[in-house]
C-alpha cells in the first residue's frame, strides 16, 4: 500500500520560555535561558534549587475551576497547549470527521505531583485510607489524552506512549504511523511534563542527574561545555497537529512543514547511561533517514538530545559523526535544552517545535552557555554556540533519548507539493 504523507497544521506550546509558540520561538532564537529558582516548593534543603518552570500559568484562566481541580498540572498544561494547537489548526466538526481525529499524547512520568500529595496525606494519618476519589484519574499518565479528546469531541485513536524522556517523540511517531496507515485523518500529539516537585527533583538529584550549579542557574544548562554537570529539570507541554496531506489541502489548512520520517531503537545497555559509542543513537538516526528516504546530506540542522550530562553529550556526538561523516561538519547542531532545560517527557515535542520553526524561518536556534571547549568533542563541528545562525533549513532532525535506553528520532522538512 502507498503510505500517506503527513504535514503539521497546528502548534501549541507552554514552555519555560513562554506560553505560546511565538513567544517560545522568539526566546529560543534570542538565546534566552528559562532557568530560575524553583517556585513550586521550598527547595532550600535540596541539592538543586532551580529548574526551568513554566511561568505565569493559572489553569483557571483557561479551564473551569471545578474541572481544573480534577487535573494534575501535567494534564492542565496538556489541555491548554492542545487548545492552542487545535485553534491554530482550525479543526472544527464542519471540516473534520471527529471519528477520525485522534490523540496520542505522552508524558514521561504522569501525575507525580498528585501521587506525592495523596500518599503524603495518607502517611500523615493513622492508616485509615482517605484517598481522594480523583487520585487515580488525576495521576494516570493517559488521562491527558483522555481530557483532550473529551474537550474537543475527538473520537479517533486515543492513548499514551511512554519511553521516559523520549516519550513525546515516540508518541509523535505513533501518530505519524497511524495517519500514514490510513487509521486517522488528524492526530493531536506531543506530550507534557510537570514534576518540579519534591519527589521529582529529589528523585533525579539522588541519581546525580541534575546540575547543582545553584550559584548561577541561568548558565547551569551548558551542553557541550567542558564543565557541564548534569541537566536542568524543565517543565513543558507541547502539542502538534499531524494531518494527512490531502485532508489538510482539502480544508485549506495552513501547513508548517512535512513530517518526513521517524525511527525508534534501544541501546540495550544500561538503565540510565547511554551506550558509550552511541550505538542506539546511531541506529535511530539511520532508521529515520531511511524511513524518510533521505541521505545524511539532506539534513541541515540537528536538534540534539544534548542534556548537558557528561556522558550523554559525548555519545550522541560520536553517533552523529558516525552517521553523517564529512557532512557532519556542514550541519548546524544545537541543544535547545541549554535554554529550556530538559523537559523530560515533553522534551521531544518542544524540540520538534524548535525544528519546525527552524525549517519555517531558516534560522537555527543556538546552544547557549558555552564557556570552555570540551577536548572530548570535535571542535570543528558547528554547535551553534551563543547565537542563532541564519541558513536555509530544508530539513531538521530531532533526537530524543530516554532512561531505559530508548531512542527516538524524527525528521521534519519543508513542505512542497
Amino acid at each position: 500500500m502507498q503510505l500517506k504523507r503527513i504535514v503539521v497544521t497546528g502548534i501549541g506550546a507552554l514552555t519555560p520560555l513562554g506560553n505560546s509558540t511565538t513567544e517560545y520561538w522568539n526566546n529560543l532564537r534570542n538565546g534566552v535561558s528559562g532557568a530560575d529558582f524553583i517556585t513550586q516548593f521550598d527547595a532550600s534543603k535540596f541539592k538543586t534549587r532551580f529548574a526551568c518552570e513554566i511561568k505565569n500559568f493559572d489553569p483557571t484562566d483557561f479551564i473551569d475551576r471545578k474541572e481544573a481541580r480534577k487535573l494534575d498540572r501535567f494534564a492542565q498544561t496538556a489541555v491548554v497547549a492542545s487548545d492552542q494547537a487545535v485553534q491554530d489548526a482550525g479543526i472544527t466538526a464542519e471540516n473534520a470527521n471527529m471519528d477520525r481525529v485522534g490523540v496520542v499524547f505522552a508524558s514521561g512520568i504522569g501525575g507525580l505531583i498528585t501521587f506525592q500529595e495523596e500518599v503524603t496525606n495518607f502517611a500523615k494519618g493513622d492508616g485509615t485510607p482517605r484517598f481522594n476519589p480523583f487520585f487515580i484519574p488525576k495521576m494516570i499518565l493517559d488521562i491527558a489524552a483522555g481530557h483532550i479528546s473529551m474537550r474537543h469531541g475527538f473520537r479517533g485513536p486515543n492513548f499514551s506512549v511512554v519511553s521516559a524522556c523520549a516519550s513525546s517523540t515516540n508518541a509523535m511517531m505513533e501518530a505519524f504511523n497511524l495517519i500514514r496507515l490510513g487509521k486517522a485523518d488528524i492526530i493531536i500529539t506531543g506530550g507534557s511534563e510537570s514534576v518540579v516537585k519534591e519527589a521529582g527533583v529529589g528523585g533525579f538529584n539522588a541519581m546525580k542527574a541534575l546540575s547543582e550549579r545553584n550559584d548561577d542557574p541561568k548558565t547551569a544548562s551548558r551542553p557541550y561545555d567542558k564543565d557541564r554537570d548534569g541537566f536542568v529539570m524543565g517543565e513543558a507541554a507541547g502539542v502538534l497537529v499531524f494531518e494527512e496531506l490531502e485532508h489538510a489541502l482539502k480544508r485549506g489548512a495552513k501547513i508548517y512543514c512535512e513530517v518526513a520520517g521517524a525511527g525508534a531503537t534501544a541501546d540495550a545497555h544500561h538503565i540510565t547511561a547511554p551506550h558509550p559509542e552511541g550505538l542506539g543513537a546511531k541506529n535511530v538516526m539511520n532508521q529515520a533517514l531511511e524511513d524518510a528516504g533521505m541521505q545524511p546530506s539532506d539534513i541541515d540542522y540537528i536538534n540534539t538530545h544534548g542534556t548537558s550530562t557528561p556522558l550523554g553529550d559525548i555519545a550522541e556526538v560520536k553517533a552523529i559523526l558516525d552517521v553523517f561523516g564529512e557532512h557532519a561538519y556542514k550541519l548546524n547542531i544545537s541543544s535547545t535544552k541549554s535554554m529550556t532545560g530538559h523537559c523530560l517527557g515533553a522534551a521531544g515535542v518542544i524540540e520538534a517545535i524548535a525544528c519546525i520553526m527552524s525549517v519555517q524561518n531558516d534560522v537555527v536556534p543556538p546552544t547557549i552557555n558555552h564557556f570552555t571547549d570540551d577536548p572530548e568533542l570535535d571542535s570543528k563541528l558547528n554547535f551553534t554556540f551563543h547565537e542563532a545562525q541564519h541558513r536555509t533549513v530544508n530539513a531538521a532532525l530531532s533526537n530524543t533519548f530516554g532512561f531505559g535506553g530508548h531512542n527516538a528520532c524524527m525528521i521534519f522538512k519543508k513542505f512542497s507539493a
Binding site: K66, N132, P133, P137
Partner: protein, 78 residues
Amino acid sequence: MSDIAARVKKIIVDKLGVDEAEVTNEASFTNDLGADSLDTVELIMEFEKEFNISIPDEQAETITTVGQAVTYLEEHAK
C-alpha cells in the same frame, strides 16, 4: 441558617463550582448541582474532614441532597 448549614454550603460551592443561590436544601448533588459519582464521594470526604467525623458508606449513600447532608451533620457533628 445554622453554622453547620453554612459550612456545608460553602464546601459544596467550592467543590462543585456552583452559585451559592443554587445550593438550596432541596438541591440534589447529581440532578441539580452537576456532580458525578466521584464528586459525591469527594463531597462526603470533605464533610468528614470539616466536621471531624467518619460517615459510614451505607449512611453516605443516603445523603444525596444538600438538606440531607445538613440534617445528617447536625445530628452527628461533634
